[in-house]
Symmetry: C2
């Protein structure tokens, strides 16, 4: 990259992806409150008007980041649910869910804390894809579909609770393993899930 200034790199074509990347960086450094189209543009060295060619408004950009975050989370969950007993896979998925929140905090926040409309089709679909990764092992554990559904909801709530407490209340080294343990306890006591 000889003389071409930073502001030349993204012209004509690659801006959309660069906007998402820079948004993630910005969310990571300054949080959701400080996120703005203006600041993203500034960081990329493009005009404030440029992003509006790719995203209709601020929420559209945030939603694109959320979808990206969902893809990352989904991939991580797939990786850890490849083998083992159904119970092990549920526990591993929960631990990984919490690990994702800890290691990719801004992505996790974009996914859940960005105040986006959850009825958006893209976000809806993403939630279902991720939920399916929990439901599959639960089906193998439970006798009926209804029971599997209950167990899945309880497991996701437990993982999500550990993740949000971790993100909101500071770092806890053992949160991922704690979440996995809680899920094992939940499975052991699942006859109480009404």
């Amino acid at each position: 990259m000889p003389d071409t200034a930073r502001r030349e790199r993204y012209h004509h074509g690659a801006l959309r992806a660069a906007l998402i990347d820079t948004s993630i960086d910005l969310l990571a450094e300054r949080g959701l409150e400080a996120f703005s189209m203006a600041e993203v543009s500034r960081r990329l060295g493009v005009a404030q008007a440029a992003p509006y060619r790719h995203f209709a408004d601020r929420d559209e950009l945030l939603a694109a980041v959320a979808v990206h975050a969902g893809d990352v989370l989904h991939e991580r969950l797939v990786r850890v649910t490849g083998d083992g007993s159904p119970a092990q896979r549920l526990a591993a998925a929960s631990a990984e869910y919490v690990r994702f929140a800890a290691e990719q905090r801004p992505l996790f926040q974009a996914l859940y804390g960005a105040g986006l409309d959850k009825r958006r089709p893209d976000l809806q679909r993403m939630g279902e894809r991720i939920g399916a990764l929990f439901l599959a092992p639960a089906r193998q554990i439970c006798g009926t579909d209804e029971h599997a559904q209950r167990l899945t909801s309880a497991v996701i709530a437990t993982a999500h609770g550990h993740a949000t407490l971790l993100v909101d209340h500071g770092v806890d080294e053992n949160a991922p393993e704690d979440a996995a343990a809680a899920v094992r306890a939940l499975i052991a006591g699942r006859r109480w899930l009404t």
Copy 2:
């Protein structure tokens, strides 16, 4: 209240409490993103400078709302943990925690989603008071303090997970009872909490 306009009511004395009340209303109607000192002042019919006599800045006012929210939650939890077996009290506390989030959504958000510094002494103390209500029954259930601590963390994470999913993902009628059931399962399977 004959001729005295609304803007007269809060002069000289009662503004502090009125600011907290109005902040809660504003958070309820428009969410945290739309919360501002300016809008709170506008709603009360006072000058934008007036709140700064009572709160140093925006965060101080939000923190006061959070402390109020903590008091309300604490009171609700005390009310439902008065009697019953330790397991029943833990389950009841969890259900009430979720019910609070559902019924007092803005207060719940002020408590956890306001991006406040958790090292604030007032908020720290509040978290401990609420945690103690979960720890007491857990102590009666568990043999050692360490086990009680683990069970408490798992129960709070479960309740918090159900609450945040409820608040973020729309209304679910049965979330409080689901949380209680999950806690019962957690207690039954507590030997897995490493």
